[in-house]
């Protein structure tokens, strides 16, 4: 089932949670709503589910105006961040709930419900825990039960509100890989909310980046990561270094070096900011050419597979560079030493946009 959101606005008192948001989710896709807290992503999800009403605009589910239906007729499965399991019911009863509250005419028989629930429990690898209460399960297990419960009614849309937000890092990674596989199997149109860019990049077919109640950019993970539409998206997806300078006649002056400003977002001249990802900066001891910027090493920190180097460049700005272990070992950088940095893939945004 496809989802169309047309010019939706929503206010809570004086706070505008959503401002004129339009979005379309084609049938069968797994879409991530990514943004910082307060960006309106959860509100948007709750509006799709019918748990929140819109002030303006429309939500179409399969081309049909959804405002005609309350949540229980929308055929959406909703998975909450804190699971929202029925804690007085066993795992089995939780998963069976959606089937057992169906009107008598369409309610499957007891045996059918039983076999269906056990199929789902098998899917989440928890058949042996069918008679446990939620309080006896771990966080990851609870979230899987919540997912099975939502899937039991065969929803046409699956909505997940920060589904892995309350889990620890390891379980989170396992579960999101599992969610991706599950989606590849059952192909139900899914929207999940997250503030974790890594999660969005890893799991989603498409990412919708939101900020302050508006959609900043929409696209595939590589589109939004490699071609951020604006400084906010650049900054929000991954670590970024800023070079403040000017653009004159297509040439950027940054920290004493001149770079061709081919990556400028607009052709205009003026003060500009160059954005470079932390892994798009080379460090060397020899400064040759006009594109090398002198810098001083301020700190070297090994973080798992990467080595993070803090630098202060000649323009007086902080830089953070991620090197692979190999590259770092070859350089053997010492704190306090003078080096040259060479940014690759600089994107320029002329200063009319403040972040």
């Amino acid at each position: 089932m496809s989802i169309e959101i047309e010019n939706v606005s929503k206010r809570f008192g004086a706070f505008a949670a959503l401002e004129d948001v339009s979005l379309s989710v084609p049938s069968g896709e797994l879409v991530a709503l990514l943004g910082p807290s307060g960006s309106g992503k959860t509100t948007l999800l709750r509006i799709i589910a019918g748990l929140e009403s819109v002030d303006e605009g429309k939500v179409l589910l399969n081309g049909e105006d959804a405002s005609l239906h309350d949540p229980r007729h929308r055929k959406v499965g909703f998975v909450f961040q804190h699971y929202a399991l029925f804690r007085h019911m066993t795992v089995f009863d939780n998963v069976a709930f959606g089937l057992s509250v169906k009107p008598k005419r369409t309610r499957p028989g007891k045996e059918v419900i039983r076999s269906k629930v056990f199929d789902l429990l098998k899917l989440i690898q928890m058949e042996h825990l069918w008679d446990r209460y939620p309080s006896q399960l771990s966080g990851g297990q609870r979230q899987r039960v919540a997912l099975a419960r939502a899937l039991a009614v065969e929803p046409q849309v699956l909505l997940l509100d920060e589904p892995f937000g309350a889990l620890d890092a390891k379980v989170r990674q396992e579960l999101r890989r599992w969610l991706r596989q599950l989606h590849d199997e059952i192909h139900v149109t899914s929207v999940f909310v997250t503030h974790d860019q890594e999660e969005a990049l890893e799991v989603a077919d498409r990412i919708v980046v939101m900020n302050r109640g508006k959609v900043e950019q929409e696209g595939t993970p590589s589109e939004v990561y490699d071609h951020p539409a604006n400084p906010f998206v650049f900054d929000f997806l991954g670590k970024v270094n800023l070079f403040h300078g000017r653009i004159d006649n297509g040439v950027a002056q940054l920290g004493g070096v001149r770079l061709p400003a081919s990556g400028s977002s607009s052709g205009t001249d003026g003060s500009a900011v160059g954005y470079v990802r932390s892994h798009d900066i080379d460090i060397s001891r020899h400064g040759s050419g006009s594109d090398a910027i002198a810098a001083q090493v301020r700190g070297v920190l090994r973080v798992g597979p990467l080595v993070r180097v803090d630098l202060l460049h000649a323009g007086g700005e902080q830089l953070e560079v991620d090197l692979s272990r190999d590259a770092a070992d070859r350089l053997a950088l010492q704190v306090g030493e003078q080096v040259f940095v060479r940014p690759r893939n600089v994107r320029f945004f002329v200063n009319d946009y403040q972040i």
Binding site: R72, H73, F80, A84, L85, F86, V101, Y133, A152
Partner: protein, 282 residues
């Protein structure tokens, strides 16, 4: 340090400090306030022979008073459980002008001297009172009948249910209701299968407290009950009557029976309470 940890582990009491003084205080408190006074009841009652004891506690008039007391208390607790939940629901789920005042009113039965409550209720429901005037022509007699006893018990017991259910409703996980709605549950199914079962332990606690309070109530009931032997005489009143006749042993014998019955009922209610919360974390 290591040794003390090991030691307390061996004792099986974990290693939260302060166990000895707090447990000591708890025991002392229960001993002085509850156990010693109550045990003298048993000693006093034990001065009777078995025949005298049975004669004192199983006389027809006494048996009738048990029925009136426990029957009315149960009915009152059921009534309170029902209306208390509605009051708590209204106070928690809706926002309306005057809500705070209404909220404060709930506690009044706690604070009011019970005699005042009894006299007021009797005044209102007497055949020439405000409400009595209206009800009497309809054939409903409240004051000076067992109905009056029930009414007084409802009055003094209401805050217990409201005050135990209210916090549970306030803390209630609204997402569980939303989840149920997304799964296709209608309003009625959500209430009966999600909201009420989760509220039940609190309602049961409120019910138990209201019941215990009603069984022990004396002050307000004697003014409205009429106190007719065999009809509207409650056991606490009977005990007072016996005391006034200097039948101390007889009075304590009846008190002992009342105590035991109350204890048994409270025990059953507590077990039920435990069962109703079987899903909670240990």
């Amino acid at each position: 340090m290591a040794r003390s940890l090991k030691k307390s582990h061996a004792a099986g009491w974990g290693n939260l400090p302060g166990f000895a003084p707090t447990m000591g205080y708890t025991l002392l408190c229960l001993l002085v306030v509850v156990l010693v006074p109550l045990s003298t009841l048993f000693f006093k009652a034990a001065t009777l022979t078995l025949d005298e004891f049975v004669g004192a506690v199983a006389a027809p008039r006494v048996l009738a008073s048990y029925r009136v007391t426990f029957g009315a208390a149960l009915l009152a607790a059921v009534t309170n459980a029902f209306f208390g939940v509605i009051v708590a629901w209204t106070l928690v789920r809706y926002r309306f002008p005057g809500r705070r005042i209404l909220d404060a009113l709930v506690d009044l039965p706690f604070a009011l001297p019970t005699a005042v409550a009894g006299i007021t209720l009797a005044g209102i429901f007497a055949s020439n009172g405000w409400l009595g005037k209206v009800l009497e022509p309809l054939g409903v007699k409240v004051a000076f009948t067992p109905v009056g006893i029930w009414l007084a018990m409802v009055f003094i017991g209401l805050p217990f249910v409201v005050r135990t259910v209210q916090p549970v409703l306030q803390e209630f996980d609204r997402e569980a209701e939303e989840a149920a709605a997304c799964l296709g549950g209608n309003r009625w199914q959500i209430c009966t299968r999600v909201v009420f079962p989760l509220m039940f332990p609190a309602v049961l606690t409120g019910f138990t407290l209201a019941f215990a309070r009603a069984v022990g109530e004396y002050g307000s009931i004697v003014f409205i009950a009429g106190n007719m032997p065999m009809v509207s005489e409650i056991t606490p009143l009977l005990i007072i009557t016996k005391l006034e006749q200097y039948d101390y042993a007889g009075a304590t014998a009846v008190a002992v029976v009342m105590l035991l019955v109350s204890f048994m009922l409270l025990l059953v209610l507590n077990l039920l309470q435990k069962w109703s919360r079987r899903y909670a974390e240990q």
